[in-house]
């Protein structure tokens, strides 16, 4: 069941569009915000809320990279692997994080603290290499600064 809060927030979004289904992406983001990821049950609940078929909602959910159809950790690390960050050495940043946390791209630490994912260009190229953790942007990364940054997220 969608919570009252989720329903209210989804309703607010549907008001910006001529019909409820247009708020599908917003609804997915709202539910993900509350639950961390989008389960099959969440897809069904959103479908019924927006008067859509389950298949339609899932086709939207699986298209967008920032909708998680699998559980993720408490914190999601998004390492930019696009061109400016490649030139400026994202690969060694990735290797450092991967070694430190013993996870590769697509994996979650056993304690559920971090999920490590690649991300396309973050539009922060003059401060490359960059990454995001949850909603926070971190840039001009060095091996030392990464250690400090990770400590902030428990």
């Amino acid at each position: 069941m969608l919570s009252t809060k989720e329903k209210e927030e989804i309703y607010e979004e549907t008001r910006l569009y001529p019909y409820p289904a247009a708020a599908c992406i917003d609804a997915l983001k709202i539910v993900q915000h509350h639950r961390g990821w989008i389960s099959d049950e969440a897809i069904e609940e959103i479908a019924s809320e927006l008067d859509m078929s389950v298949e339609d909602v899932d086709s939207v959910a699986t298209f967008y990279t920032r909708i998680y159809r699998k559980p993720v950790g408490r914190n999601v690390i998004l390492v930019c692997d696009s061109i400016s960050c490649m030139v400026m050495g994202y690969e060694s940043m990735y290797k450092h994080i991967s070694d430190k946390l013993s996870v590769h791209f697509g994996e979650t630490t056993p304690d559920g603290r971090f999920t490590l994912l690649p991300i396309s260009c973050l539009g922060d190229c003059d401060h490359a290499p960059s990454l995001m953790i949850n909603d926070d942007l971190h840039n001009n990364l060095t091996i030392n600064s990464i250690d400090e940054i990770l400590e902030k997220y428990q």
Binding site: L16, Y17, P18, A21, A22, A23, C24, I25, D26, L28, K29, S59, V60, F63, Y64, T65, R66, I67, D81, S82, I83, S84, M86, V87, M88, I119, S120, C121, L122, G123, D124, C125, D126, H127, A128, M132, D135, D136, L137
Partner: protein, 426 residues
């Protein structure tokens, strides 16, 4: 030198609030447009200014607006959308404008919406631009409080509502018809054109989609005129441009400079030249989907026409430097991997062709490529060229590859001859 777009942006300081922006001249263009000008006059003004879209394609803005029907049967619901879904690799200019001066964009959107008589407008903003989104939402509230949004704006009887939509990822949503599908809550697949959004766009209604930097120009042109705009540029194409440089230069960053500033001045003067120990080998001039330029093109004037003559595109005007310590094949491979990942999967050449190219480039880096692979890559650049795919995604991806094969052919061959990447030892 005038820098209209960035003069009120100061780094390490929050953006100007509405009242402070008005004290330095903000919203003057909006007052003038809504009180003194008819919608058709604004469209003619923007047409005569020759403002070309700053999102990368360079389509004339006034012409785009003029394609919107004046009278829509069954009511007059039209839409304006600001494309703030910046995701072209190597591009970071709209983030600067959004975070630095949100009221400049909002005042531009009010004028643009009034010119096409749109009653609803959206800012489609990239999910990753969290700071920008908060800033924009606050600024919109201020604009409502001031009576610049909502009903009966400035007592003119004109109504406009402005909403923010935060995206959920995918590069293709920067393509205007894919953006429209995404805003409708659907998968972000591009639409067949025609019909163009100007006649049938968001929810089937006439729609204009403009880039952030483009919309930021509107209040300034309305206030100062088309001739002023033209004179700002060196080469007559009009205006200034936010140019940016990333890669191994001394001062990566962005600068507002007259349109037509040379590539050399941007890289050597503003970006401070190459870092010690690095030599410039190539430049991607306007985001990942533009052809390489090289040392030989350093005196190219950075405007749409001159960069086209040099064999590339101005694109977003934010450049990525390929230095001599970075393998050109790996550099291109990185961009192709991005395009393969971000293909929406709708049409076969793009969905299948880009991963094919990616695998071949990977084999170069692993040292298993064969001489005939160069021919396959060359064939692919034509197979996925303009006209063979549903949208401009794959043709854009082919631009750095085709020019890379031309300028760095020896480096491709070295990978085959030496059976490994010559840069891996560095």
């Amino acid at each position: 030198m005038e820098t209209p777009l960035t003069e009120h942006i100061k780094e390490n300081r929050p953006p100007l609030r509405l009242s402070d922006y008005e004290k330095v001249g903000g919203y003057r263009g909006m007052h003038k447009a809504l009180k003194e000008m008819a919608p058709a006059d604004i469209i003619s003004l923007i047409k005569s200014s020759n403002l070309m879209g700053r999102g990368g394609a360079g389509f004339p803005t006034g012409l785009k607006w003029s394609l919107v029907p004046k009278d829509v049967p069954g009511g007059s619901l039209k839409y304006l959308i600001a494309n703030a879904d910046e995701m072209e690799p190597g591009t970071f200019k709209d983030r600067y404008l959004l975070e630095g001066n949100p009221h400049q964009l909002i005042s531009g959107m009010i004028i643009a919406a009034y010119a096409i008589q749109a009653r609803k407008a959206y800012i489609f903003i990239r999910w990753a631009y969290k700071k920008a989104e908060i800033i924009i939402r606050n600024a919109i509230s201020e604009a409502y409080e001031a009576g610049y949004l909502g009903n009966n704006i400035l007592g003119t009887g004109y109504n406009l509502d402005l909403y923010v939509h935060s995206s959920a990822g995918r590069y293709i949503c920067g393509e205007e018809t894919a953006l429209i599908n995404s805003l409708e809550g659907k998968r972000g697949l591009p639409r067949a054109k025609p019909p163009f959004p100007a006649t049938s766009g968001l929810f089937g209604q006439p729609t204009v989609v403009n880039n952030v930097e483009t919309l930021c120009w509107i209040p300034h042109i309305v206030e100062n005129g088309a001739e002023w705009f033209t004179k700002l540029s060196i080469t007559g194409e009009g205006g200034t441009k936010i140019y940016g440089v990333s890669g191994r230069v001394n001062k990566p960053g962005l600068w507002e400079l007259p349109v037509g500033t040379t590539l050399r001045e941007i890289i050597e003067k503003h970006a401070g030249g190459m870092k010690d120990g690095y030599r410039l080998k190539g430049v991607i001039p306007g985001g990942a989907s533009t052809d390489f330029l090289t040392e030989a093109h350093m005196d190219t004037r950075m405007d749409f026409a001159s960069v086209r003559t040099a064999g590339s595109r101005l694109g977003t005007g934010t450049m990525i430097i390929l230095d001599d310590k970075t393998c050109p094949v790996a550099f291109i491979h990185n961009m192709i991997k991005f395009f393969a990942l971000e293909s929406c999967g709708w049409c076969t050449p793009c969905r299948e062709g880009l991963p094919w190219v990616q695998k071949i480039l990977e084999s170069f880096e692993e040292g298993t490529a064969k001489t005939e692979d160069i021919g396959i890559l060359e064939f692919q650049t034509q197979y996925m060229g303009p006209g063979n795919t549903f949208c401009a995604h794959a043709p854009g991806a082919m631009e750095p590859l085709q020019s890379g094969l031309k300028y760095f052919c020896d480096d491709f061959l070295k990978h085959i001859e030496e059976k490994h990447c010559p840069w891996r030892r560095l």
